[in-house]
């Protein structure tokens, strides 16, 4: 097993760990940040798979734009909850 293969294996393990923990975390903000890390790791995996076009697009789109949209949605939902002062549903 060469060093490159070891690195690849490590990245794949990190990918699976990030995916599982993004889904299991209770706090939504933490889960979004883990999802962002997942996208960055995915773009490194694509560099290793000799697809630089995909890597640069995933880094810009997945880790950038998608995450920004998710963050803004979360912020907007929290603003709305503060407006409503609803004591139920503390799932945010």
């Amino acid at each position: 097993m060469t060093g490159m293969e070891l690195f690849q294996l490590m990245l794949l393990g990190l990918l699976v760990v990030c995916g599982i923990s993004a889904c299991l975390t209770k706090n939504l903000l933490v889960s979004l940040i883990i999802f962002m890390a997942y996208s960055v790791i995915m773009s490194v995996v694509w560099v290793l798979l000799q697809a630089p076009d995909l890597a640069i697009t995933e880094a810009a789109v997945g880790a950038g734009i998608s995450s920004i949209l998710l963050f803004i949605t979360l912020k907007k939902l929290r603003d709305m909850r503060r407006e409503v002062r609803d004591e139920e549903t503390d799932d945010l």
Binding site: E58, V61, S66, L70, E88
Partner: protein, 127 residues
């Protein structure tokens, strides 16, 4: 068995990620978590497709230095297809988030079961 798994390590990881996203989609009742799960499923499918195009020991398909032999580059076709898919997946994500905001504005919750019950109640009330 283990050797075969090692030969297919990227595909196996893609299948695992797909399952993680699928379970999230089925079991989580929070809409934002469902969206994250769907995104993970998307990227797993793209990872699988890209790994099909990879050939060990070859260069990325950027033809420089006068070397035009197809035997020294990886397959460019899956990369092109996945590039299309990534942008489609971000537009789907934006649409789903907009729908989530609308649902939250109406029902003040992200729990899909509660939303469903309230919608049923509204329907009964309307009758």
């Amino acid at each position: 068995m283990l050797l075969a798994l090692w030969d297919h390590r990227i595909q196996a990881a893609a299948v695992l990620l797909f399952a993680v996203g699928f379970v999230t989609l089925l079991l989580h009742r929070n809409l934002l978590k469902k969206i994250i799960g769907l995104n993970i499923m998307d990227t797993a499918a793209y990872l699988f497709l890209t790994s099909v195009g990879y050939i060990a020991g070859r260069k990325p398909p950027i033809i420089t230095g006068g070397d035009r032999d197809p035997a020294s580059y990886v397959n460019p076709l899956p990369a092109g297809l996945v590039l299309t898919g990534i942008v489609v997946s971000v537009s789907v994500t934006a649409l789903m988030l907009a729908l989530t905001i609308r649902l939250y504005r109406r029902y003040h919750t992200l729990d899909l079961d509660q939303i469903y019950q309230m919608a049923l109640g509204e329907q009964e009330e309307g009758k």
